[in-house]
Structures are given as structure tokens and as C-alpha cells.
Symmetry: C2
Subunit: 397 residues, 2 copies
């Protein structure tokens, strides 16, 4: 047995999160795609069956009250809150990430402009997952702003008295680079603008500290490190002090102060509820609620410590096993710049990923030449990591 595998087994034996693996439905595949779709938490199927058969099938319409359907968006938001460093009452769950980016960014521009400042420019992360850029373009068009794409490191230099809002990703979906949320948020604020963060690739993998760092608005999906299931609803964070100024471009009946009053004119609800729109998607939402129970007793700091150990170890094993020059990491080596994934540039990456999957190691391929491996500390162990690197080396030989 190799020294690396021996070390992996020792670390797995000492891992305080090792017991969480049994809270998921897993097989003998090494699943390193939890940054795309988290694995199934074992408690979800039973909960979903209850929601479908009893809550819908038997109680029917009564479940809007009796089964807590109506208040699910804010209740589940409060369950996510501690994972991203937010106090209760600031997060609602619902809609897709794209739709929430639209709400957040338009509302951010309106906050900046309501000060009578004439701010008319949105800055967007030039390395963003595409949907944020497309939605930012629409938000700019519909608020009369211009849009400028800049890489996160250059945001401080690009800020000006014209900047209304800045949309940034906490972790780059392709490279796994972690951006400096505290410093960038502070820079945005110093310029008098509003900061909107996309947490899709950080929430559930590392501490975010939304309240601590004074983030204004944030959005994120729940089907990656939060394991909510395919296309599970996204969430929207609006900092408590800004909620009264949150002027949504999607004011649906669910965000009305009196939704069943059936009033002709819109009067927004106070609090996080203001971020709701239409009728919440109950099946997906309550599957997410069950999925979030795996976080009971887990500290996000412990998750971060294990995540860094896993990605460090993967880079070490790749260095030891994979023939020189066949792959190149595009993920930063510095811990403070690394999310919970490793991205390797590789010739024929699409084919290589197919063969890896055939070999029992599931990551994914991102255009044009990246092998992407996500490390979910709740269910990935060190022996998995060693095996993934070993199979990768076999495929590349």
C-alpha cells in the first residue's frame, strides 16, 4: 500500500466529519461532482413521500397552513442563514438563481440611485458563470445603466462615483478561485455602491460571513454543497437594514404585506418576505428542507478545514501519480484563494472525463479544456481523493 493511501486511511480514521457520510445515499463511485449536483441525503426520500402522499394527497389545500407550506420560503431561509453567516430574517428561498440575480441587481441599482446620486453603471465579474452576466445585461438595460465586465481583482480600480452596483462571484465556477469578499465588499462600499454576491460555489463549503462583512445582497443555489436536489430553489439574502429599501422588480402576491387581502395595489411586506414572488414550489422546497438537516451539529469552519485538507491532498496525489506535464492546476495554491474544488487544465479534457467516469470517478468537464473536481467535505473522504488521483493517472497514461 502506498504511503499516500496509508495517510488517507489514517486521516479518514481521524476525520470528525466522517460520520456524516452515512447521512447520504452513496455507492462505490468517488463522487466529485457535488459542486454541480449534491448527493442525495438519506432523509429526503421519506420526507418527499410524506409531502406527496399525506400533505398533498390527504390534507390537500389545508397543508398551506397545517403543513407549514405557506411559510416555507422564510423558514428554510432561516435554516440556510447560519451556513452563510446570516442572522435569521434575511433570507428567503424560491425561484432560480438567475431570477434572484435579477431581483437583487435591479434592487441594488435602485438603492444606489434612490440616494439621488445619478449612479448609472453596473460592474459585473468578467469571469462569472454566464447566467449572471446575461441577467446583469438585462438589469442594466432595464434600469438605464451601462454594464462593464471586470475581473474581480480589478474591481477596486474600476469603481467610481458612477458605480451603482457590483455583482461578484464568491468562488469562480471554473477555476475554483475564491475571491476576497470582505475586501471587495469594503471597496464597493467605500465607493458608495451596493455589493451583490453570488454564493453558488461557496455556500456550504466555506464560511461566507454575510453579516460580518456587511454584504448588501446575495443569492445562491441550493443544489450544490447544500444538496437540495436537481434544480432545487435558490435563495436571496437582503441585509436587514436594507430591507425597507428593497424595491423588487418582481413584486408578486407572495411579497404583498397582505397576500390574501387580494388588493389591487401593491404594498410590500416588511422583512425578507419582500423577496418572494409567486406561489412557492413546495415539493422541491420541502425536499431541500429535509436535505438541510444533514447540517445539524456541523460547523462550517470544520467543513472548511476538511475541504482545504482534501484539495491539498488531491493536488499532492495528482503531483505524485500523474505523469509530468499532462495536467496543470488552474486552482490557486494559496488557501485564501481556493474554494472547494480543483480544476485541472488537460488536453482532451472531455474524453478524459468520460474515461474517468467509466473508471468510477465522477467529476465534470468545463469548456474548453478543464477537468473539474468538487470536494464535498460531508461525504468525500481522503481515500476517495487518493483513488481519484490514481484513476486519473491511469487514464492519462
Amino acid at each position: 500500500m502506498s504511503e499516500l493511501l496509508l495517510r488517507a486511511e489514517k486521516w479518514d480514521g481521524e476525520d470528525p466529519l466522517a460520520g456524516k457520510r452515512s447521512a447520504f445515499v452513496l455507492d462505490d463511485v468517488v463522487y466529485l461532482d457535488g459542486n454541480s449536483l449534491g448527493a442525495l441525503p438519506a432523509g429526503v426520500p421519506g420526507r418527499v413521500e410524506d409531502v406527496v402522499r399525506r400533505q398533498w394527497g390527504e390534507l390537500r389545500i389545508r397543508s398551506w397552513e397545517e403543513s407549514g407550506w405557506w411559510t416555507a420560503p422564510e423558514r428554510i431561509g432561516d435554516r440556510i442563514a447560519p451556513l452563510v453567516g446570516a442572522a435569521a430574517g434575511q433570507i428567503v428561498v424560491g425561484d432560480s438563481t438567475s431570477v434572484n440575480v435579477f431581483k437583487a441587481l435591479v434592487a441594488a441599482v435602485r438603492m444606489a440611485q434612490s440616494a439621488g446620486s445619478g449612479r448609472d453603471e453596473i460592474l459585473v465579474d468578467a469571469t462569472t458563470f454566464p447566467t449572471d452576466g446575461y441577467i446583469a445585461e438585462s438589469a442594466a438595460r432595464m434600469t438605464g445603466c451601462s454594464l462593464r465586465a471586470v475581473v474581480p481583482g480589478e474591481v477596486p480600480a474600476a469603481l467610481s462615483g458612477r458605480t451603482a452596483a457590483v455583482l461578484l462571484n464568491h468562488v469562480d465556477y471554473r477555476t475554483g478561485r475564491l475571491h476576497d469578499l470582505p475586501a471587495l465588499t469594503a471597496a464597493v462600499h467605500a465607493a458608495g455602491a451596493v455589493a451583490v454576491w453570488d454564493l453558488c460555489h461557496s455556500a456550504g463549503a466555506l464560511p461566507v460571513g454575510l453579516d460580518e462583512h456587511g454584504v448588501d445582497l446575495a443569492v445562491g443555489c441550493t443544489y450544490k454543497y447544500l444538496n437540495g436536489g436537481p434544480g432545487s430553489p435558490a435563495y436571496l439574502y437582503v441585509r436587514a437594514e436594507l430591507q425597507d429599501r428593497f424595491d423588487s422588480p418582481l413584486p408578486g402576491w407572495n411579497s404583498h404585506v397582505e397576500p390574501f387581502g387580494m388588493r389591487a395595489s401593491f404594498e410590500p411586506a416588511p422583512g425578507a418576505v419582500r423577496g418572494r414572488v409567486g406561489t412557492p414550489d413546495i415539493l422541491s422546497m420541502l425536499a431541500l428542507e429535509a436535505a438541510l438537516e444533514v447540517w445539524d451539529g456541523v460547523s462550517i469552519e470544520a467543513v472548511r478545514a476538511k475541504s482545504l485538507a482534501l484539495t491539498d491532498f488531491f493536488l499532492e496525489c495528482v503531483g505524485a501519480y500523474v505523469p509530468e506535464g499532462r495536467v496543470e492546476s488552474v486552482t490557486p495554491a494559496a488557501h485564501e484563494e481556493r474554494g472547494s474544488q480543483v480544476a485541472l487544465r488537460c488536453a482532451d479534457a472531455g474524453d478524459v472525463m468520460k474515461r474517468l467516469i467509466e473508471g468510477g470517478v465522477v467529476g465534470d468537464f468545463r469548456q474548453p479544456d478543464v477537468l473539474r473536481f468538487g470536494f464535498t467535505p460531508l461525504y468525500v473522504g481522503f481515500a476517495d481523493v487518493e483513488r481519484a488521483a490514481r484513476v486519473l493517472a491511469e487514464v492519462l497514461r
Copy 2:
């Protein structure tokens, strides 16, 4: 046994849709709230279990291709299409009704304005379910239009060369009044404007004829007469000839011509797919797909015929059983003006509905004084109708 009950039993025995009742999970309650939340189709629990345990739990990320997750929005749209008189390729499922109203109405205004017409007014149904009005106000604000609320019957007189788009409900959620979709659409077109219809209270209850009547855009929910489950995703119809001009305010990565190309600039997909936004909500969406199987072999004309017979019979039974003057129908008597519900104005309607529900008859209460009863022809029978009227009379005595 009363003559009415005898007649009900005779009609139930002759009902060609009677066999469909066994396709639903029902108990001995008379469920007349299918216009709020449809009953559970018997095939749904097993399908959802497969989606959760096998597709998500075992295949995980592979299901995006292997289980047809990626193409679900347009595939399920094509399953809804014949129910609303649309050829394939014009409907996508996803997001809430409110969000789809926003997409449709903004896109409608852009279509009207792209002709260089300077049209700058949106007309909205003054009797609409509130969310449509709130969203219309936002759409007007964000497209530089003014908004005018008019009752549907006065739309023809309100149309002018300034009208960009008109948002109407096919059936009034409160009174059950059916509006004249063919004539109103023709009037909107004659004025050079774009017609957007909300089908929430008509789809699955009566023929809509979207293609036949040249409707431009339409939206609808799937949890009422389509029985998709609580908060199941809504749908968006864009007439084929208009799809190239559909300029969405929510251009997410799912509506990109090459979604996995990860391009920085947005290029919209052709066809109905252009109406998609973010990652589809798979659990709710595939529950809906299973729910739609109850429509196999059902003609919407047969559904309409039974619906009218049910509402006629309910009004007759109410007239026979309920003490004179205690209720007043606000639903039109004329068939061509009636949807699939009966709304009765009644003193203390909230309390009366509570006691009805205790008596095993489930309808709902709408502010300020309306008892609302929805008749779903796939699972409501004539004896149910007679019993509902009888219990109502007991409660009111």
C-alpha cells in the same frame, strides 16, 4: 331519495369521464377546491420516488441527460400544448406564474415597440388576480409604459394607437366569469397591440384554442385543473411566428443557444426554449409530468361538457335546497360566460366555509364575501355536487 339525488346517480352512471376518478387519490370528502390545488393523481407518488431515489440518488448528475432532465421544460410544455389548443414547440414549463407574466408582458411591449410605433401603454384586466396587476405595474415601470386597469368588457373601447400590450385573464379567479378570448384577442390585434392571456383558471377545464384564435403570448399555472402539485411550475406560450422576436427580460443560461458553451455574450436559443431562464426545478417538474398522464385519452371538449353540466346542476341544487336569499351567485348564468367554478356571495362567508369543510365539503373563501366552488370534471361527480349543495343548505339553516 330526492329527485335531484336520483338524477345525480343516473348521470354519474352515464358519465364517460367517471372512470378517471380512480386515477386520483380521493377520500369521502367532496373536494371542490381543485381550482386552487388539484387532487393528487395516483401515478405521482411512484414517479416522484423514482426521481428521488434512482434518478437523483443513483444516477446523480448523469440524469441531466439519461433521465431527460435537461429537456423536461419543453417536453412537458408539449404535453400541456394540446390541452390549450397549441401545436408542439410553443410552450415551456418553469418558474412561477408571476415570473412568466413578467417575461410575457415585457416581451409583448418590446414586440409592439420594435415596430417603431411609439406605443407606450399597457392595459391590464382590472378584475385580475392581484399578482398579474403588480407584475404589470413593474413591467410598465421598467419599459417606460403607463399602465391602465380596465375591466375586460371595456378593453375594446380602451384600445388605441398607444396600446402596446394587453394582459387579460381567461377566467376571473373570483367570480368564475369566462371572458371572450377570441373576440378580445381580435380586438387587440385590430388595434395593433399584443395580447397576453393568463390561463390559470381555464387550462384543463375548457377549450382555450391558443393557436386557433391567434393568441400572442400566454401563461398559466399547473397546480389547479392540471393537478401538478403545490406550487408546481408554471408555463409560458409564445406563438411560433413571434418566437424570433421574443426578447426576454430574464435571459438565463438555459435560454442561450448553446447553454454549455459558457459564452460571455447572450445569444438566444430559437423556439420555445427561449422562454427558459435558470436550472429547472426537476422534482416538481417531473411530478407534474406524471400528473399530466391522467389526460391520456381525454378530450377537453368532453371535460367542458361535463363541467357545464356540473355547474348547472350545482346552481339547480343550491336553488332547490338553500333557503331563499341566503346566497347569490356571482357566476354568470350563460354558458359562454362561465368557467368551471361557481362563486356564491354569502354573509359570513368565512365562517360558512369553515363549517362546510367540517361537514366534508371543501371549497374556499375569497375576500370579502365569496364562497368559491371549483368543479374538476376528471374527479368530481354529480352526486358530489348534490351533496355539496345539501350540506351548504344545512350549514345555512
